[in-house]
Amino acid sequence: MTISSRPAGRSVQLMATCLCDAFFDSVAKATVEVLEHAGCDIEFPENQTCCGQPAFNCGDWPASREVMRHTVKVFEGEKPVVVPSGSCAAMLFHGAVLEFEKETDLPAVKHLASRSWELADFLVNGLGIQSWPGRFPARIAFHRACHTRGTGSGDAALQLLQSIQGLEVVPFGEAEQCCGFGGTFSVSFPHVSSSMGCLKLEHITAGNPDFVVSGDMSCLMHLGGLAERSGKPVKPLHFAQILQSALHTHA
C-alpha cells in the first residue's frame, strides 16, 4: 500500500532494521553510501531497535505495539524515514496502522506511516532518480519481496538495476511466489517454509544467475541459508549492495 503525498527531500532518517543491526552491517553501509550519493543528509537515531513485526505477525499485538510506540518516539519529526527493507517499511506504513486502529495514539503512528519509505521507492519515486551510474557485470535474478506488492518498490528497484551497465536481469518461473520466509512462519512451519524456498531456488537457479537480489534481507537470509546448506551456486545480494558496487566502479 503506497501512501500518496509522502514527504521526500534529502534530509532523511535511516532505519537500518534489526537484521542489518545483527547480521548485515554491509547492507546498512551500502544504504548509507547510496543515499549519500543521492545527495542525502542522513540522521541515524541511535535508540532505534526493531519495527515490532515479529510480535505483530505472531498475533501478540500488545507486545508489538510496545515496540512500535518506542519506534514512533525514536523517529519523531518531519523527515522521511528510509528503510532498506520492504518488509520493515510495510510494517511502518501499513502494519502499524492496522495494530493501532483502536488505540488513542493512532495519529502519531499514522504520522510515522506517512513518512516511511522503502529504499528503492524513495530513490525513484521520492527523489526522482531515474537511472544509476557505474557498472556491475553480472547476471542477477530479482526477487520482488512480498511486502512491497502493490507499492512502487519492485518496479523502482528493477528500473535502477537495469540502468546499470553490464547487469543482466534473468527472468524466472513462478516469480510472484513467496520465498517461504515469512518471519516466525519459517520456524513454526519449517517444512512448508523450506519447501517453498527450495522451489523458489529451483526456479531462480534454472537461469544460472550469479546473484539472487532483493530489497529485503529477510528473504535473502532464508534463501541464502537454504542455498548454502543445499550447495546451490547462487549468492544473495541486497539491491543496495549492487548500487554501491556500481558507484565504486563509477568513481
Partner: protein, 462 residues
C-alpha cells in the same frame, strides 16, 4: 516440540498429490493472469470496483435481503431464512417431506457442504445425488472437497477409475472421456427419477429477484429440468444490489476461477413455472442461510463476506500448494478458508485458530482476489484474536522478552554487541527450540551485532 497441524499435514502429504495440487494450481494462476491481463488494460481497477460493489452489498445486507425477498415473492418463489446450519437442514428436509420428495439431484454448492446437508438427508431416508462430476466422485468416495472450484484436485484418474469400478459403473477404465460418459449416462437416469433439485446460487439480485448460477457441466440445468421442486440454498451474503452489478462480477468470476471469460453455463432463474412460463420446477424455494454470517458481519473481519468463491487465492497460495486443501480441516481451504473457517466455527474458534498462522503473509491472495479482500490483514487480526483467547500455537516463540528488549535501547545495544558471542557457540548442538528448525535446512549468517553502529559513529567523529 508439537507441530502446527498444517505443517504436519504437508510433511506427510503424498508427494504425487502435492505435485498434482501444485501443478494444477500454478496452471490456474497462469491462466487467470493471462486472460485478465489480455482482456483488460487495468484488471486491478476492475477488482477494486468489484470489491466496492461487494462491500456495499454486505454493509447494506439488511436492506438488500428484504428487497430480494420481495422480488423473489413477486416471481412466485417461497423464501425461507435459516439462522443455523441445523435450521437450514430442517428447512430443506421439511420442504422435501411436504412435497413427498424421496429422490434429490444436487448441483455443486459450498453452503450445502458447510451445513452437511447430504448427511442430514440420508438420516431422513432421502437419496441425494451430487451431479457435478467432481462432487459425485467425492460423494461415492466418502471424501471431502479439497478445493472450492476443483473439489477433486487431490485425485488422479486412476483413483477415479477404481471408484467407478467399485460403484458398478463399468469395468476399470481410466480414460477421462470414458469416465465422463459413464457418469453422464448414470446422471441422466438420476435427473429423470428425481423429485427435487437442490442448487446453490452464485448471486441473487435484490432488484430483480434473479438467481444466478454458473457451472461448466450444465448439471444445474438438468437438476431443474425434470424435478417438480427446486430448492436453492443461499448464503445471506450472496445478495447483490442489481443485475447491472453482474457485468462486473461475472466477468471476474469465470476469469479468476478457471481462466474462462465466462463459465460454459450461466443461468438466470426467475422463479418457478407459472402460467405463461411453462418450463422449470413448479415449486421454488430459496433458503437464505446465516450460519454465523451475521456474527462475521459484526466483526472486524467482515470483508471476507465479499468472497465470490472463485478459488484464485487457493491457486496462488504457496502454502496451499504445499499442504493441499485437506490440511485446512474445514469446508473452505486456502487463504479464504484460513479466515472464513475459524470465523464460521463460532465457539470452536480455537480449534481452527491455527489456520490464520499457516501463511507467510505474502499477500499473493490479495493480489489475485476478484473482490480485493485484504486477506493478509484479516489473517493478522485473527492471529491477534487467537493470541487474546490463548489458542495453542505450537512453534510460535513468545514475544514478551523480545518486546522488552526492543523497547529498551540500552539493553538492545548490549544484546546486539553480545550476540557476537553466538559465533563461538555450536548453535546446532544447543537445545534452542526455535532455532533448530531453522538450522535444519538453512545456515545462519555470521553475527555482526553492533558493527554498523560503530561504523556510523566513526564516520560522524571524522
Amino acid at each position: 516440540m508439537p507441530e502446527q497441524k498444517v505443517e504436519l499435514f504437508a510433511r506427510r502429504l503424498d508427494p504425487g498429490v502435492q505435485k498434482a495440487v501444485h501443478d494444477n494450481s500454478a496452471a490456474g494462476t497462469l491462466k487467470r493472469y493471462s486472460i485478465l491481463g489480455g482482456d483488460y488494460d487495468t484488471p486491478d481497477e476492475l477488482r477494486r470496483l468489484a470489491g466496492q460493489i461487494r462491500q456495499h452489498s454486505i454493509e447494506h445486507l439488511d436492506t438488500y435481503l428484504e428487497q430480494a425477498e420481495k422480488s423473489l415473492h413477486r416471481h412466485g418463489a417461497h423464501v425461507h431464512f435459516a439462522v443455523t446450519a441445523e435450521d437450514a437442514c430442517q428447512a430443506v428436509s421439511g420442504i422435501l417431506e411436504r412435497a413427498g420428495a424421496r429422490k434429490v439431484v444436487k448441483s455443486k454448492s459450498m453452503i450445502s457442504e458447510e451445513i452437511h446437508l447430504n448427511d442430514h438427508l440420508a438420516t431422513r431416508g432421502i437419496e441425494s445425488v451430487e451431479t457435478d462430476l467432481g462432487e459425485y466422485i467425492i460423494q461415492i468416495d466418502g471424501d471431502h472437497p479439497s478445493h472450492i472450484v476443483k473439489p477433486i484436485i487431490h485425485k488422479n484418474r486412476r483413483d477415479i477409475a477404481r471408484s467407478f469400478e467399485r460403484e458398478g459403473l463399468g469395468d476399470y477404465n481410466d480414460d477421462p472421456e470414458t469416465i465422463t460418459r459413464r457418469a453422464r449416462s448414470f446422471m441422466r437416469r438420476k435427473y429423470l427419477e428425481a423429485d427435487a433439485g437442490i442448487t446453490g446460487a452464485n448471486f441473487v439480485s435484490a432488484e430483480s429477484g434473479r438467481l444466478v448460477l454458473v457451472t461448466n457441466e450444465g448439471n444445474s440445468r438438468f437438476c431443474l429440468a425434470a424435478p417438480r421442486v427446486h430448492i436453492a440454498l443461499v448464503g445471506i451474503e450472496k445478495v447483490i444490489p442489481s443485475d447491472a452489478d453482474l457485468a462486473v462480477l461475472l466477468n471476474l468470476l469465470g476469469r479468476s476461477a478457471t481462466g474462462q471469460q465466462l463459465t460454459v453455463y450461466t443461468e438466470f432463474i426467475n422463479g418457478p413455472a407459472l402460467t405463461g412460463r411453462p418450463s422449470g420446477p413448479r415449486e421454488m424455494h430459496v433458503i437464505f442461510v446465516d450460519n454465523r454470517r451475521s456474527e462475521i458481519l459484526a466483526s472486524d473481519c467482515r470483508e471476507i463476506l465479499r468472497c465470490i468463491r472463485c478459488g484464485a487465492c487457493l491457486n496462488v497460495c504457496p502454502v496451499y500448494r504445499q499442504a493441499s486443501g485437506h490440511a485446512y480441516r474445514s469446508v473452505y481451504p486456502g487463504p479464504v478458508g484460513a479466515v472464513l473457517s475459524p470465523l464460521l466455527a463460532g465457539k470452536k474458534f480455537k480449534e481452527l485458530a491455527d489456520l490464520p498462522k499457516a501463511s507467510s503473509l505474502c499477500g499473493a491472495c490479495n493480489e489475485v482476489c476478484p473482490v480485493d479482500i485484504p486477506i493478509p490483514d484479516l489473517l493478522l487480526k485473527l492471529r491477534n484474536r487467537g493470541h487474546e483467547e490463548h489458542a495453542p500455537s505450537p512453534g510460535t516463540p513468545p514475544m514478551g522478552a523480545f518486546a522488552m528488549l526492543a523497547s529498551s535501547p540500552l539493553l538492545w545495544r548490549a544484546a546486539m554487541q553480545g550476540s557476537r558471542a553466538m559465533n563461538l557457540v555450536p548453535l546446532d548442538k544447543l537445545p534452542l527450540p526455535y532455532l533448530q528448525p531453522w538450522l535444519k535446512t538453512r545456515t545462519l549468517p555470521e553475527w555482526r551485532g553492533g558493527s554498523f553502529r560503530r561504523w556510523m559513529k566513526s564516520r560522524h567523529s571524522r
